[in-house]
């Protein structure tokens, strides 16, 4: 299980490959690919892009919420309805 090739790392290539394919499943861009193996560097690249997109979405949504909150009052009834929608 231990790979002694490159200076003391105890994690095997298989474990890394497992994680890479797990990541691949999470990324919409790569999920549909029939071939199970996008190259590892492609997966990492797409992961970076995906995370950046998510960050941007969070920023956009925060922006949208800040505009919306300017004109609404969050009262307790709304909060209760909303909570039930979310859960």
């Amino acid at each position: 299980m231990s790979s002694r090739r490159s200076g003391g790392s105890r994690i095997s290539d298989d474990q890394i490959a497992d994680l890479v394919s797990k990541l691949q499943q999470l990324i919409p861009e790569l999920r549909g690919r029939r071939s199970n193996k996008a190259s590892a560097s492609k997966v990492l690249q797409e992961t970076c892009n995906y995370i950046r997109n998510l960050h941007r979405e969070v920023e956009d949504l925060s922006d949208r919420l800040s505009q919306l909150l300017a004109s609404t009052d969050t009262d307790t009834d709304q909060a209760a309805i909303l909570r039930s929608l979310l859960m």
Binding site: S6, S9, I16, L19, L26, S41, L44, I51, L61, L86
Partner: protein, 165 residues
């Protein structure tokens, strides 16, 4: 719309923990708004900052210290310039030592190792606490981080849609 019961999610799921915290923060932020200038661009920007921080904070607190990335994010949030006066110095010192212990040299594994180096560094910048992780932990943390980010986005979208006219 009277007796429709949507399938109940686990109340202790990440999604509900995040949603509860975030909604609470939103009410607090909304309660603070000065009536005179609640629509000025400065106010809106300030509120945007507060909401974004609240979203990240709510998610990090919902994960607590179970993950390296959430610990890193919580630490980052606690030592922001506006909060620094309330952070005990001993906490910071302890954290720094702890972070240093986590620094494994990133040795690459396998023939793909060289390629991993470049993209992995980029990924390290995106995932909180990534600089100190070895490749295996980085990939593991990234997967969890992505799951949490997508939850965060979904919940925020639902809230925004709810309040949209």
């Amino acid at each position: 719309m009277n007796k429709y019961n949507p399938p109940r999610m686990n109340p202790s799921s990440l999604r509900s923990r995040f949603a509860t915290r975030f909604l609470r923060s939103l009410s607090k932020i909304n309660a603070k708004k000065p009536t005179a200038s609640s629509s000025s661009p400065t106010e809106i920007f300030r509120r945007y900052r507060r909401i974004k921080v609240a979203a990240d904070k709510s998610m990090a607190y919902s994960v607590r210290s179970r993950r390296t990335w959430s610990r890193a994010m919580l630490w980052k949030l606690r030592t922001r310039p506006c909060c620094r006066r309330s952070v005990k110095t001993s906490t910071i010192v302890r954290k720094t030592r702890h972070e240093k212990q986590n620094k494994n040299t990133t040795t690459t594994t396998g023939e793909d190792g060289v390629v991993f180096g470049v993209e992995a560094d980029e990924l390290r910048e995106l995932v909180p606490g990534g600089e100190a992780m070895d490749l295996y932990n980085l990939l593991d943390e990234t997967a969890h981080y992505i799951k949490c980010l997508t939850t965060q986005v979904q919940v925020m979208k639902k809230i925004a849609d709810f309040y949209s006219p």
